[in-house]
């Protein structure tokens, strides 16, 4: 990224002051994150902190109540299909493959928006159609090779082992040729070996020029993977910074592990005293 560009376009993806209110519940409150070119940004936080809600705002599944999401300075539309066309792809927390399609077909669906054949060409299968199909298949096979699923392309997706399903979901997302890839808990349910393989895969994804945002509970994984980490607690960004800064921040420890015992005890005593006081008054 050259320094000549103005600041807004230095970041590939930028969320500014995103607020998401469901009825009376404020799921996200004035959240801002930014993703630099070729960076890996981690998003951690306790359950219910609003991580997936933020992802849904970034991918157009939700329209933020306030705030804006920009890709290279351009506001993203609030339609998942258009967001994907614009260059933001995602995976899901609970794997959402097309279970009864083959591995190759799953990736080919990812190629959908980068293919041009219309309905008429689809009916007649002319030479142009076949060329496009062959190119899409080749690209898909390259992606399967990339994530390490080569040789399983004709397997039905639901028959794949769990870790392979995760990788297939990533290959499918990469098939849309994204600039930004959003991974929602990519290592959930994985053993240490699989987690390490996933880490290497994410590095390689970054190396081919895709910027990555990762949601993960596994803090060790996040700290060894990301360039910057944002901690989301109760819908707000608590801390943002390099892994080492975030790791040592007492507020993060508090959010994850709770307060030190003495402090909690003191608070409880204080509350008890207040109740006692209230009783005496009445």
């Amino acid at each position: 990224m050259s320094a000549a560009r103005h600041s807004a376009s230095e970041n590939v993806l930028e969320a500014q002051g995103v607020t998401m209110i469901f009825g009376g519940l404020t799921a996200l409150n004035n959240v801002s994150i930014s993703l630099g070119e070729g960076r890996i940004v981690g998003l951690i936080g306790p359950n219910g902190a609003g991580k997936t809600t933020l992802f849904n705002c970034l991918t157009g599944l939700y329209t933020p109540t306030r705030g804006a999401v920009r890709l290279r300075g351009k506001q993203l539309p609030s339609d998942p299909a258009k967001v994907t066309s614009a260059g933001v792809a995602r995976t899901f927390q609970n794997i959402r493959l097309f279970p009864n399609m083959t591995v190759l077909e799953n990736v080919l669906v990812g190629r959908h928006i980068r293919m041009k054949q219309g309905p008429i060409a689809s009916v007649f299968h002319g030479p142009g159609f076949r060329k496009g199909e062959a190119a899409a298949k080749q690209k898909s096979m390259e992606l399967l090779e990339f994530v390490g699923l080569r040789g399983l392309e004709h397997e039905v997706a639901r028959n794949l082992p769990y870790g392979d399903q995760r990788r297939l979901e990533i290959a499918r997302a990469l098939a849309t040729e994204p600039e930004v890839l959003l991974l929602d808990e990519p290592t959930a349910g994985m053993n240490p070996q699989e987690t390490e393989a996933a880490r290497q895969l994410i590095f390689r994804i970054r190396d081919i020029g895709v910027s990555v945002v990762v949601i993960e509970h596994d803090t060790k994984f996040i700290f060894s993977l990301c360039d910057t980490v944002s901690v989301l607690v109760q819908g707000e960004v608590l801390v943002e910074g390099s892994p080492s800064t975030v790791r040592d921040d007492p507020r993060v420890i508090e959010a994850y592990l709770g307060k030190p015992r003495e402090e909690v005890e003191a608070e409880v005593a204080e509350a008890a005293a207040a109740i006692e006081h209230h009783r005496e008054d009445s």
Partner: protein, 597 residues
């Protein structure tokens, strides 16, 4: 059935199947034997047309005899996949017996006739049922076993020789298919007052055909043939078309005017069912008013073909009228499909149901003077091309072909066209988008698919094909009546798609054939027709929810995924096991099988 697995010790498997085979032979010969032993008149009440020649081995008894011999041979010969073969024979023979028993109990001498004394044939039927059960249990004792793989060339040939060898096999196989189709079509003869036995004979024949196909599948033959035909696709398509065109010729026995008419009707519904399969099978959109599009095509074509009852008074040549009918139906399909942007699942079904009902009521009341109302639109001229009216008999290749055969030929071509459209769409960017929407709509949108547009397109294509089929339908029939396009027809088409197997061409064709040939055959049961349909559907959903010709298994087989002959259940079980294993892996913070919202 897995529940039968291990019901008896493995050591008893062979005795069971052997006894089953012997009992089939006894069942086949019992009527004859009692007749001889009693030295009396053949009991008239229990005499069915298909049993009435005690000394001849025809129909029912010939089939049972064959199954019995096969069961004995398979039991003692070293044949791979024998358990599947025996199981299929058990099912088929049991069904033949059950049909005979049910018919004699109901229409013969009553329930009391099921004794050796006054209902010898019923006795034979009971024996056949028992034999079928024994075979089924015996074959399940040691598990279904693997379906054997056959080499592409049985002689290890390669290149041109291998190709020629495969062509010979395919020719033989498709000739067999032609024979089976002709036999099935004509089994039991023409039903009605003249011949009340058509229904039972037909169903018994289905039992025979099913048992035979199941046995062939068990030894891996059907899979081998389908692999060969997949490999030599163009050749197979040409031969299949030739076989379809050969059906009316005298040597098949199906070449009468009546059977041609039945076959043409089946063809029309098969084409419509394939169109519906795009909407329901590929895109997963439940459409309960689909037949309305067929009706729209039918009435548009009727109005454009110079019918006296039409207010338009146009008289266009058939191809043009059919084209316009298809286009109009397609446009209306897109309009009806647009609410699908907003509603999903059950709600969509209700919207389409309402549309179908609106169409049928509007047509009944002749809104806009376009449908003729309750008096219908009679007098639609027959299709006439190249100076030949399609309802005239013709002379082709030295054979005198009955009237209506030209319609049959046209419909064969249309069905082939519709199949090609379906297959091409399915294996394209659009088809994959539809399947993706069916599988997981949110994930499909996350892949950039404009789901709204794709759904409307599915409705449009499906309705266009239905409109085309409707145009042919009314020209063949000569009358366009709202009565042909009611809710029941929609349901039957949907049942055909589900019964045959969603998303496959052979499934839709098989389903349509069964559901539209059965009423023809079961005329004397017309009061129970819907009951039988419902029962059949419930049973299919219980025992074979993927349909008769399922999609994924076939595909997986071609890809070599279940090449070891594993059943898909086994593969699924394994997948579940693996998932559970990964759940139990240390360091897994969340279970992988979290429920989807």
């Amino acid at each position: 059935m897995s529940r039968l697995n291990g019901l008896i010790p493995a050591a008893l498997a062979r005795p069971f199947t052997a006894i089953g085979g012997v009992l089939f032979l006894i069942a086949a010969m019992l009527p004859w034997a009692t007749f001889i032993l009693n030295d009396g008149a053949y009991p008239e009440k229990s005499t069915l047309q298909f049993f009435d020649a005690p000394f001849e081995l025809t129909g029912f008894r010939w089939h049972l005899l064959l199954f019995g011999l096969l069961a004995l041979i398979v039991t003692f010969a070293p044949i791979p996949g024998k358990n599947r073969v025996l199981g299929a024979l058990g099912w088929g023979g049991g069904l033949i017996g059950a049909v005979g028993a049910a018919f004699i109990a109901g229409k013969g001498g009553g329930i009391g006739a099921i004794t050796a004394a006054d209902g010898t044939i019923a006795m034979g039927s009971i024996v056949a049922i028992v034999a079928g059960a024994l075979l089924k249990i015996g074959s399940a004792a040691t598990g279904p076993g693997d379906i054997p793989e056959w080499p592409t060339s049985l002689f290890g040939w390669t290149g041109m020789k291998q190709r020629l060898e495969a062509w010979v096999y395919l020719l033989v196989a498709f000739a067999g298919v032609l024979w089976l189709v002709a036999q099935t079509l004509t089994a039991g003869g023409i039903g009605g007052a003249a011949f009340p036995y058509a229904g039972p004979v037909f169903i018994a024949f289905l039992g025979f055909a099913g048992g035979l196909l199941g046995a062939l599948h068990g030894i891996g033959l059907t899979r081998w043939v389908s692999q060969l035909s997949e490999k030599h696709r163009p050749f197979s398509i040409v031969v299949l078309l030739l076989c379809a065109f050969a059906l009316p010729f005298p040597f098949t026995g199906a070449g009468s005017q009546y059977w041609m008419q039945v076959a043409a009707t089946i063809g029309v519904y098969a084409a419509t069912a394939i169109g519906l399969n795009i909407v329901v099978g590929l895109s997963g959109l439940l459409d309960l008013g689909y037949v309305a599009f067929m009706g729209i095509g039918a009435f548009v074509a009727a109005n454009l073909s110079g019918v006296a009852a039409s207010a338009l008074g146009w008289n266009l040549p058939f191809p043009l009228a059919a084209l316009i009918a298809a286009v109009v139906a397609g446009i209306l399909g897109a309009i009806v499909g647009s609410p699908t942007l907003r509603v999903r699942g059950d709600y969509l079904a209700i919207v389409t149901l309402a549309f179908g009902e609106i169409f049928s009521r509007a047509a009944q009341n002749d809104i806009g003077d376009l449908t003729g109302g309750a008096s219908a639109m009679p007098g639609i001229p027959p299709v006439s091309m190249f100076g030949t009216a399609f309802n005239e008999p013709i002379n082709l290749l030295g054979a005198e072909l009955p009237s209506g055969v030209l319609y049959y030929f046209m419909i064969v071509l249309v069905v082939a066209l519709v199949m090609a459209v379906f297959a091409n769409l399915k294996n394209s960017r659009m088809g994959r988008a539809w399947i993706a929407i069916r599988e997981d709509e949110d994930a499909a949108r996350a892949m950039g698919i404009r789901t709204g547009k794709a759904k409307i397109l599915a409705f449009l294509v499906g309705a266009t094909l239905a409109g085309l089929a409707g145009a042919i339908f009314v020209h063949k029939l000569g009358t366009a009546s709202y009565d042909s396009f009611k809710f029941l027809e929609s349901v039957t088409l949907l049942a055909a798609v589900i019964l045959g197997g969603m998303g496959t061409i052979p499934g839709a064709v098989l389903g349509a054939s069964l559901l539209f040939v059965l009423p023809e055959k079961l005329r004397e049961f017309s009061d129970y027709r819907l009951f039988v349909f419902g029962l059949a559907l419930v049973l299919i959903m219980r025992f074979r929810p993927q349909g008769l010709v399922p999609d994924r298994i076939r595909r997986a087989e071609f890809a070599g995924e279940t090449a070891e002959g594993k059943s898909i259940e086994a593969v699924e079980e394994q997948a579940v096991l693996e998932q559970e294993q990964s759940e139990r892996e240390p360091g897994a913070p969340a279970g992988p099988k979290e429920g989807r919202s």
